[in-house]
Symmetry: C2
Subunit: 190 residues, 2 copies
């Protein structure tokens, strides 16, 4: 089995597709962000990487707050739209028919139709080159009632999707469960 | 449609499952990390969140280098093992039967059996609380030859998997393609 070097590239599978929200000049805007990860557990934090020229970044800087919304497969078209159009040119809330609500964090707009919504306050901003890496402390999580089972979020009801860049940019549904985590590895003797 | 507040929690779907590699005291070790994301494109960078007490963190601090390996569904057992056991207690390379190789970045061990391997140099380390968020510049990417199509990485051959925490920790395969990215959103008129 050989290996081929393809140069320095950001080839991580999979990435989530999230809609990052910010109020810009007092109006809610949403940007599709796949470069989003968890950064810390105690306290809960998330990181998002945003290009320096993005319209939403202006709002995040102004307010030092933002939201992360996890869309379901029912919102794939709207999520893609929020990735290819700029809030400087179009009102994405109107175009996508989003119902916006707010929680406890000011200027962190949340999308009713997305099953999971995180309210965040900026704790760090790193200028890395093409992108700013923004670390936010998660202040509250909202989950659509129909996506809960026994009061807990249920991925089979959330029905999120994933983003893949190679060989061609596409969105994929989640597939079959292949193993229990923190469990299947016990089969290895050591 | 109502919403329920479930408190501040790191609920992002999906997370990748990666094996982060580091030489610790001159020996390769691998840690399963789901909290891994892309941080920058120019130059390419990745972020990984690692708990402060982790054995691998010692090696990353020593050398200021690390690797990110993307396992396939064939390595789910080994990946899980690397998440539930510590390199302080067990030689994970031996236990998992990994074939280790090195590229151009010293002390960044790569796993032959994983279809995608990134070599990284640390550019930032943020102490956020329970975790350190480590940003690494990607210096080279290796892809297993049998996972290339026309010289490009092909996700259908890589066969990565994803990590889900809610409602119960599990690994899932990738499912069907539901839409082309940077394309399906054009159906929305604005």
């Amino acid at each position: 089995m050989g290996k081929t070097k393809i140069g320095a590239t950001t080839l991580i599978y999979p990435m989530p597709t999230t809609l990052v929200g910010a109020d810009v000049d007092g109006k809610p805007n949403f940007l599709a962000i796949a470069w989003c990860g968890v950064a810390n557990s105690q306290p809960p934090m998330v990181s998002v990487a945003i290009q320096g020229h993005r319209y939403s970044l202006k709002g995040i800087r102004e307010n030092m707050t933002f939201s992360v919304n996890v869309p379901s497969v029912d919102q794939v078209k709207e999520a893609d739209f929020c990735g290819i159009r700029s809030g400087a040119d179009v009102d994405k809330v109107v175009a996508c028919g989003f119902t916006v609500f707010y929680g406890q964090v000011e200027a962190a707009p949340l999308i009713e139709q997305c099953p999971v919504n995180l309210e965040c306050r900026v704790v760090q901003m790193l200028e890395l080159g093409s992108h700013w890496l923004i670390v936010g402390r998660i202040e509250e999580t909202h989950v659509s009632d129909e996506c809960l089972t026994d009061g807990r979020p249920d991925v089979d009801k959330v029905r999120p999707f994933l983003f893949v860049t190679q060989p061609r940019p596409r969105y994929q549904a989640f597939g079959d469960t292949i193993a229990r985590a923190f469990n299947v590895g016990r089969e290895i003797e050591a």
